[in-house]
């Protein structure tokens, strides 16, 4: 714990020192940024912007998980479905997603809908892929054990395959949330809208208010990291026996 805290303090210290040397248009120091942050909260602007942004994040992310998990599981248990869909999911996962934004804006305009669709499309492939990988790799022994006890197909599905999947589903959730946050931010950046975090950033940029910009950015990054950390905790406690699969994230659009 101490080296981590130490390096964080060190980083802030370096930031502070750098900010002291620069001109008024240069780097604002920690106190100025903190002040800006407080102002954002007190005026309620951050909260309302967050509310708008988070709702599209929640809806888009939820849809992606609700559709992605069953899709991935289906792909794992029915290999031909898996083989058919996998290349497309991989293609989506690898693609620079921001490229889709202009098209989406053309189709859906610039309000709520477009953000939800973007976040949904962005998060779905990875969630599905994780569940697919997990379902595919169910160890043969576990299924064989059930068969020696004369389990029916349905019993194998519910009593062996699904329980085995659960940790993967949590991993998919964690990744999904992380991705959805990233997608949300990208959506905010690229879609010129009149509400939400993106709008706040725009105004701060237009008025050359670097302190506010920094405050918002730091806040978003911390939010993203915290959300994932919490989910990681939950994931660890659900499945202490850890199936141990390396999952690579494709995020940040």
């Amino acid at each position: 714990m101490t080296p981590r805290l130490g390096s964080l303090v060190g980083l802030i210290a370096i930031w502070w020192i750098l900010s002291l040397g620069a001109s008024p248009f240069g780097l604002p120091g920690p106190p100025a940024v903190f002040e800006a942050f407080v102002e954002l909260i007190e005026s309620g602007r951050l909260i309302s912007a967050l509310g708008v942004t988070l709702s599209s994040f929640a809806v888009g992310g939820l849809l992606a998980v609700l559709m992605g998990v069953p899709l991935g599981i289906l792909m794992g248990f029915r290999p031909w479905v898996g083989r058919a869909v996998d290349p497309y999911l991989t293609a989506l996962y690898v693609m620079p997603f921001s490229a889709i934004v202009p098209l989406l804006v053309l189709w859906f305009g610039i309000d709520e809908q477009v953000r939800i669709v973007f976040i949904f499309l962005f998060t779905l492939p990875q969630v599905a892929i994780v569940c697919y990988q997990g379902a595919r790799r169910t160890p043969a022994t576990l299924v064989e054990v059930a068969r020696t006890y004369m389990a029916s197909e349905r019993q194998v599905f519910w009593k062996v395959l699904i329980p085995y999947e659960v940790p993967f589903i949590f991993t998919a959730l964690r990744l999904g949330v992380g991705l959805a946050v990233q997608g949300m931010v990208v959506a905010e950046l690229l879609i010129a809208s009149l509400t939400g975090i993106g709008y706040l950033l725009e105004i701060a940029g237009a008025t050359l208010d670097l302190a506010t910009t920094l405050a918002i950015i730091i806040f978003i990054m911390v939010l993203g990291i915290t959300a994932v950390a919490i989910l990681q905790r939950i994931e660890n406690s659900v499945a202490p026996w850890r199936h141990g699969v390396t999952i690579e994230g494709g995020g940040n659009a």
């Binding site: 022994t141 064989e144 054990v145 004369m150 659960v166 026996w241």
Partner: protein, 289 residues
């Protein structure tokens, strides 16, 4: 034999595996038609297991002993020949067969109690009834008090005991054991061997087939030892173990008779081990494309 519980007659089993490319370029380019190599695991394997007897199968690695065992519970199908259990040809797993796996096969999300009660749960037996039977077997294998624990909290030896308890709980007529102590260290293995002797004495009457590569284990536990040849596997020789059940313990292993028997089996086995090295060399050169 007229009262044979399990019969294998002329069993043949082959696997198809892909030849692996050996050069970097070979692995890089896609294979339009992968070349396969046929591996004959079992060829004309014939033996039978009388009712109530404990039979050990030993042989060099890869001789197909595990395959043969799996055929008895219908996990693998023979290409040719017959596998007959209780007078009926085997088409799939049987409720009267219990199978114990080398890697335990415990469900990590289930407690010890739920793992042991698994077989009964599948049969739809009510919770209290199955827990009662499960508890009895947990106690029998010496794990009383660990009912609420999870597999990852237990040592290897304890996990295998759970596996044994789970199988015993469904009260199978036939016990099939696939190197159950293979994943354990030598000391634990010895302890478990004596445990198994004790447990099986408490439940006499089960026909058992035990696959292992450990000779001491094979002799200690069995009434009969079947030695298999190197791949493709068939029966090399069948040796009866004359020691009475009550005497199967520590002093027996030290005795001269035991050593003699062990030595005899060892000679037989090492001939096969040498044959196996020769065939591994052969298959490596065959798979170079």
């Amino acid at each position: 034999m007229p009262d044979a519980k399990i019969v294998l007659d002329g069993v043949r089993k082959a696997y198809r595996t892909r030849k692996r490319r050996d050069s970097f370029l070979g692995r890089l380019l896609p294979e339009p038609r992968p070349q396969t190599v046929e591996v004959l695991a079992l060829d004309d394997l014939t033996f039978s297991v009388p009712e109530g007897r404990f039979v050990s199968i030993v042989g060099p690695s890869g001789c197909g002993k595990t395959t043969a065992l799996r055929m008895m519970d219908g996990l693998v199908r023979a290409d040719a020949g017959r596998v007959v259990v209780n007078g009926e040809p085997v088409t799939g797993p049987r409720p009267e067969c219990g199978f114990i796996f080398q890697d335990f096969g415990l469900y990590p999300w289930r407690s010890v109690l739920d793992n042991v009660a698994f077989g009964l749960e599948l049969r739809g037996i009510a919770r209290e009834a199955r827990y009662e039977r499960a508890r009895a077997n947990i106690e029998l294998v010496g794990l009383a008090g660990f009912e609420r624990n999870f597999p990852h909290q237990l040592s290897g030896g304890m996990q295998q005991r759970v596996g044994i308890a789970r199988t015993l709980t469904v009260e199978p007529e036939i016990l099939l054991m696939d190197e159950p102590f293979g994943a354990l260290d030598a000391l634990t293995r010895r302890v478990m061997q004596f445990e198994l002797v004790r447990i099986l004495q408490a439940r006499s009457g089960a026909t058992s087939v035990f696959v292992t590569h450990d000779l001491d284990e094979a002799i200690l536990l069995a009434d009969t030892v079947i030695v298999m040849t190197a791949r493709p596997g068939r029966v090399k020789e069948i040796v009866d173990v004359p020691f009475p059940r009550e005497e199967r313990g520590e002093p027996l292993i030290e005795s001269a008779e035991f050593s003699e028997l062990r030595h005899r089996l060892w000679k037989s086995l090492s001939e096969e081990q040498a044959a196996r090295s020769a065939s591994v060399r052969q298959s490596l050169s065959a798979s170079r494309s």
